[in-house]
């Protein structure tokens, strides 16, 4: 159901970032002359938009291309193909110099708080430098700004003369946030920004990020693998698998009504703090295939319990499968609706596979495997 509030929000929201057909292929050099023998298709033709003031999360297993997407948007890697519009301007078409002018609008917070700060620079030097490079803050205001920023992220002003190694992980992450904020950005890409922190610290940093968003009207592109974190912070979620978007929709819709089998498996992996809850954990089989030579058709078909021959040949399109629902929810699966309605059933038992392994003999399992292929 679309509430009046939702409609209001949608109307107010203007698009700040639009990614169109973004591809990021990394060449693999081989042979004696260093020829390009193949490509790692880290990100393969993805399209999405981010509205002003909202938080969009990209989730997926490691190696699915979520970090690469963030880095490509910032042109930390030059994308192979595609367009990235930021406030209507194509970032990828800008010259180096024009890009430099846009950089203060787009910032990034990194995963590893131990690697994201120069160990030889004090906090003050780090922040001052950020402002100096972009020229975002006039020279005489910079000193005061450093103090303000530290207070904003919850650090003491006297700590500005310290070096990164004198801080804890959470504090360093705050410094990283302060650095990103120092240039007054509009969009911040949080690349696994809380993954390396303790759970209690994670909550602190997430709350800080939310507070800053409210106060400064920031837009976040949040890259994470922890769905609990994502649920807490995001308005919309993009689920990626092997360089492609498999599902895209409002947080509520994704969590309550996941349509893609992969999303379902991901959601079932969120731990629940209840020992009696023996849950409907879905166990996927096998490993994520190589992005060098991804499976044909639907990329998930090698691990999908619902896969049919159609999935092996036809690539599903990312589209809204449920016309009755008003929520913005797109999924790339041939059988999204049929699975939902129970018309299409799984080829094998996927819930609690571990129990099955215990009960049945290994031979039975092997028989099952043969059947599948």
């Amino acid at each position: 159901m679309k509430t009046s509030e939702d409609i209001l929000r949608e109307e107010e929201n203007e698009e700040i970032l639009r990614v169109e057909g973004l591809k990021q292929y990394f060449p693999i050099k081989g042979g004696f002359f260093g020829r390009t023998v193949n490509h790692v298709k880290a990100v393969d033709d993805i399209t999405f938009t981010v509205n002003k003031g909202e938080t969009v999360s990209i989730v997926g297993e490691s190696g699915c291309g979520k970090s690469t997407t963030g880095r490509s948007i910032l042109r930390l890697e030059e994308p192979t193909e595609g367009k990235v519009f930021f406030e209507g301007k194509d970032i990828l078409a800008q010259s180096k110099k024009e890009m430099r002018d846009m950089r203060d609008d787009l910032q990034i917070i990194f995963q590893d708080p131990y690697a994201s700060l120069n160990p030889r620079m004090t906090v003050k030097a780090t922040l001052m430098e950020a402002m100096e490079i972009t020229g975002a803050v006039p020279k005489r205001e910079r000193e005061q700004r450093v103090i303000d920023l530290l207070e904003t992220v919850g650090l003491q002003r006297h700590q500005m003369h310290r070096y990164p190694h004198e801080f804890s992980g959470g504090q360093r992450q705050r410094i990283g946030i302060a650095r990103a904020l120092s240039v007054n950005p509009k969009l911040i890409i949080c690349d696994e920004a809380v993954s390396a922190l303790d759970v209690s610290i994670q909550a602190q940093v997430l709350n800080l990020l939310k507070k800053l968003q409210r106060e400064m009207g920031l837009t976040y592109l949040f890259i994470a693998h922890d769905l609990g974190v994502v649920r807490h912070i995001s308005d919309r979620i993009i689920v990626m698998y092997l360089g492609k978007i498999v599902e895209y929709g409002d947080t509520k819709s994704i969590f309550e009504n996941p349509q893609h089998p992969y999303t379902k498996a991901l959601l079932s992996a969120i731990p629940v703090a209840d020992p009696r809850n023996k849950s409907d954990r879905i166990f996927l089989r096998g490993d994520i295939p190589s992005p060098i030579d991804p499976p044909t058709g639907c990329r998930f078909h090698t691990r999908c319990p619902f896969a049919t021959d159609l999935c092996k040949t036809d690539t599903p399109v990312l589209e809204n499968k449920d016309p009755e629902s008003n929520a913005k929810h797109e999924v790339a699966c041939h059988y999204a609706l049929d699975i939902q309605s129970g018309k299409h059933e799984a080829n094998y038992e996927m819930r609690d596979v571990r129990k099955n392994i215990d009960d049945e003999s290994l031979e039975a399992l092997e028989g099952q495997e043969e059947e599948r292929y």
């Binding site: 260093g34 880095r71 910032l74 930390l76 890009m99 430099r100 002018d101 950089r103 203060d104 787009l106 910032q107 990034i108 990194f110 995963q111 590893d112 690697a115 994201s116 700060l117 120069n118 160990p119 030889r120 004090t122 430098e129 950020a130 490079i133 972009t134 006297h158 700590q159 003369h161 310290r162 190694h165 004198e166 801080f167 804890s168 990283g176 650095r179 240039v183």
Partner: protein
């Protein structure tokens, strides 16, 4: 981690002093390195004094004055280290020659670093064809043993103090380039470099403010260890008559002088040889200590 709030009033100079103090604190734990360090400090002052004395004749001693009535004399009260085949006082010669060995060693190492470090950074930072070209050239240089390469260069340029410096420096460039390239590759992929790139910093700034300071440790360690082999190379080249030319009292050349009198007057080769051993050992000990003291993993 120190939670001392006394930091708040510290200026950057004081912080630098604190860092230097910490560094020496760590170095101090390694007794052998400290011995090496003190020996080198003492030798350095002797070398400077020896250079000035050779120039201005303060002590009124000469390293080149021959005295044929006192040839090949063993150590005595008059000649502490004895005299050589021309009756020259070996102690004075070692004293006046010290600045040559140390000076050429330092100059060669400095030159090598001056060329090798930028090459390594360029190769590591820009990668691709720049990396290929630079590193293939370095590989070619590395394919020759250092002393052989130096020998080759000296025989082209001719033997002189400056040429031997250049020769030793060229043979050391690949070492520096390779170490620096490796460190640059590691550092360049760290997230703070990405962060600064996301802010739009120029390559020049990234290299000099963010990469160079963070790869100083391996450069310093390599420098101190290479100093030892530079001293050896120079002495070796001079011994072969290709380096510093007589009558300049270079230690390697002195070894060569004494070679024919090894059985009658071993002290002619013994004392310069001993000095070379002391210098090389001191540099090596210090280099090992520096490597440990500068290793960031051992910090805190």
């Amino acid at each position: 981690m120190s939670q001392n709030n006394g930091y708040q009033d510290m200026t950057s100079t004081q912080l630098l002093m604190k860092n230097i103090k910490e560094f020496f604190g760590r170095l101090n734990k390694n007794k052998a390195a400290m011995v090496g360090f003190y020996v080198l400090v003492i030798l350095f002052f002797i070398a400077v004094f020896g250079y000035l004395d050779a120039r201005f004749g303060w002590l009124g001693i000469s390293s080149t004055k021959t005295n044929l009535t006192a040839r090949l004399e063993g150590p005595s009260a008059e000649f502490l280290f004895g005299t050589d085949h021309m009756g020259r006082d070996i102690l004075y010669r070692i004293f006046h020659g010290m600045h040559i060995t140390l000076g050429v060693g330092f100059a060669a190492t400095f030159l090598a670093a001056l060329v090798g470090v930028p090459l390594g950074i360029l190769a590591g930072y820009y990668g691709k064809w720049i990396d290929s070209i630079i590193m293939r050239i370095m590989d070619v240089l590395l394919a020759f043993p250092g002393i052989l390469l130096a020998l080759f260069i000296v025989s082209i340029l001719g033997g002189s103090t400056i040429n031997v410096t250049i020769a030793v420096a060229i043979s050391a460039v690949p070492q520096f380039a390779r170490i620096v390239r490796g460190s640059t590759l590691t550092t360049k992929n760290l997230e703070y470099i990405d962060a600064i790139r996301a802010l739009g910093a120029k390559d020049f700034k990234i290299i000099f403010q963010h990469i160079l300071p963070n790869i100083m440790s391996p450069i310093i360690v390599n420098t101190s260890i290479f100093l030892a082999s530079a001293v050896l190379s120079i002495a070796g080249l001079s011994f072969l008559g290709l380096g510093v030319q007589p009558p300049i009292p270079e230690w390697g050349a002195m070894l060569n002088d004494g070679r024919n009198y090894m059985y009658q007057a071993g002290h002619i080769t013994f004392f310069p040889g001993m000095m070379i051993v002391i210098v090389v050992l001191a540099f090596n000990l210090l280099g090992d200590g520096l490597r440990d003291a500068l290793d960031p993993k051992l910090k805190n």
